[in-house]
Symmetry: C2
């Protein structure tokens, strides 16, 4: 691609490093910025710099946070006996958006994946065990993705936690709500009939 | 959408103002930046600030440029008797990428569009007429999009230019190269048979 200006070329090459954004989209964004008021670009870059330089991780749960303790860990409304273990902060956001969970979280920062060189030592498992040792947790929910790496990590955590005096649970698996049976994959459908639940209509 | 941090919320709301990027993609980009080295965010924001604050427009052709005269207008390799009139800088990039054109450009900055309140006075038409008056131009190529607004603008320019001592041409219209006839739209196909060209295979 030929560039009409060195400034555009540099901006496009930086923007195109973002995931899911290629050179053509980067060029479109750069030309869009040029057409907008200067104040927009400056507030965009200020927000990005602020984000990157000031963001930190919660010392308790390792979730992304503005301060040493995240809003969830600070909240007095949360059930401190319940901890949901997730892969990363995106999962916390997804679960929070459901509005159905009132416990705390623990962000592992990944799952065990020998292919990517990620072993148990690279994840925030020690800090989870420390929280368990502190004694106030009554239930751990393993909410990792149902992939091979996620299941391996769940199994690893289960083995480390099973002798502790707490309940270990996982997310319910089954046919998605609103999904049609004929489009459900075989493994999910098979598992959902094996783990069927009793029904009572009042 | 719930945000785990005010910094993320601000960054997401700024990123989501970009065209074609919604809140979910903005969140994905913000979380991506957090995971990368700080130097990446700083070089991205530096490139964007540099772009927005230092970019300027060529005084001759109105193309985006790093200095008062764009690289194309400065080049000694260009045919200065030939000027291609386009809607915006993206069209210059598209034509330059073909490598088939060696003349100069004139960027109108839009097309006549009463719906968007764009009349001839809002476009860079006076500067085009000034270039024509200067006398060295022998051919003007009208390379505007074949839309109603583009055709209106071409017709307006044609009327202003037709009594000047220069040739007026437009891009060839026809079946795209590599396109299959059965998928070509009726207007293009009809026009391409009316304006058929003679063939000679050697």
């Amino acid at each position: 691609m030929l560039f009409p200006s060195r400034l555009i070329e540099e901006a496009v090459s930086e923007i195109a490093k973002l995931p899911g954004i290629g050179k053509k989209t980067a060029m479109r964004l750069a030309l869009h910025l040029i057409k907008q008021d200067k104040s927009y670009t400056s507030s965009l870059t200020l927000a990005l710099d602020n984000l990157r330089n000031n963001i930190t991780y919660c010392l308790d749960c390792n979730n992304i946070s503005d301060s040493d303790r995240c809003q969830i860990c600070q909240s007095a409304m949360r059930d401190r006996t319940l901890v949901c273990v997730v892969e990363d902060s995106r999962d916390v956001i997804a679960l929070e958006n459901t509005g159905q969970y009132k416990g705390l979280y623990h962000v592992l920062g990944g799952v065990i994946s020998p292919m990517q060189g990620l072993g148990p030592e690279e994840l925030n498992i020690k800090s989870l065990m420390d929280r368990v040792e502190a004694g106030s947790i009554k239930e751990i929910i393993l909410a990792l993705s149902p992939t091979m790496e996620g299941d391996t990590t769940s199994f690893y955590l289960y083995k480390k936690l099973k002798d502790k005096p707490l309940k270990i649970s996982s997310l319910a698996r089954g046919v998605p709500i609103g999904g049609e049976l004929e489009y459900a994959d075989e493994v999910t459908l098979g598992r959902s009939i094996v783990t069927r639940t009793s029904v009572q209509f009042d």
